[in-house]
Symmetry: C2
Subunit: 202 residues, 2 copies
Amino acid sequence: MKVKDEQKYDRLLQAAVHVLATVGLAGFSTTKVAKQAGIPQSNLYIYFKNKQALLLAVFRLAVHAESVAATASLKTEMAVIDQLTASIQGIYRFALDQPEFVTVIQLLLDDGQLKAKLSMKANDPANQQIQRLLRTGVERQILRSVDLNFHRYFLTRPVFHFAQGVRAGLYADTPAELATVTTMIMAAVLQPAVYQEWVRIK
Amino acid sequence: MKVKDEQKYDRLLQAAVHVLATVGLAGFSTTKVAKQAGIPQSNLYIYFKNKQALLLAVFRLAVHAESVAATASLKTEMAVIDQLTASIQGIYRFALDQPEFVTVIQLLLDDGQLKAKLSMKANDPANQQIQRLLRTGVERQILRSVDLNFHRYFLTRPVFHFAQGVRAGLYADTPAELATVTTMIMAAVLQPAVYQEWVRIK
């Protein structure tokens, strides 16, 4: 794409995130996205074949942003457990700062029919880094030997819930509260013996 | 209310659950609910003052149904831990059988602004039973000493996720998979020493 085209593509994508977060899946339409972006609807189809393609692009953008936030402070020389807790902190900041991305991730993943059609590009490095971290964690018997989807769920969604609660005034935005959530998540995902050792030394 | 009125009230409420689950919060309107129920919109306001009152009634109905399912097989003489695992199984069956209720519970609780305005009636016995179980669990140092909202979250939402995944073909509907999810949840909510003992003897 030419530079000008890339700008329009990005503008449409940002508009799509905002529309989806605001009106939800049932109300989402290319008409609304084009209007929000200030671009004729006929032009939208140059960039996105149809509504489904636009939703896939939104999903990939949002999960990419989440993965970048989750991996921002990770270093490969860090222990797996430290990488997991650092990713929780990254996801927490992300969920506070980017509530629209969080809303669209939840909407798209909670829709069973849609979820089956959504996939990340194999070349998304931040997302790949998370997948690798989880696989390594299971191989080294740090994480429980369960479906990686369970690990992704427990490492992400309670953090979204906590951030939404903080934004709504239900929970306090304190390190102690985040530590409580982190401890509950780690108990869920770590092998029990690894969790006990982690609690003992932290 | 007279019997006839109760029937209309129930019909409107069922219609509201269906409309909310289908079109989401942004698309939800009393117009659509009245149309779905086949009742003139002006009549709807006899039963529900406004949209907000209707959403509150939907929330209470859905959480009541969830609480009834969660407590259906509990007996007060059962150990707290056994009551917790039985409630997970009840919530799992509920989530498989009543996906629209699950969708509306998620929609309403994930909306921070709305959540602050939602509350259960003090006289909902099934919901009170769950609250009492959680308070007792914390008092007896079986559950972690954390905000009860965290316990409610971990004991419910991963079960919803699992049921949605089963419906979408992502997870297998087997006792072993449900046991995996249950174990992760119990690790998150139980005091570590209690969890270890539970794993040892189960």
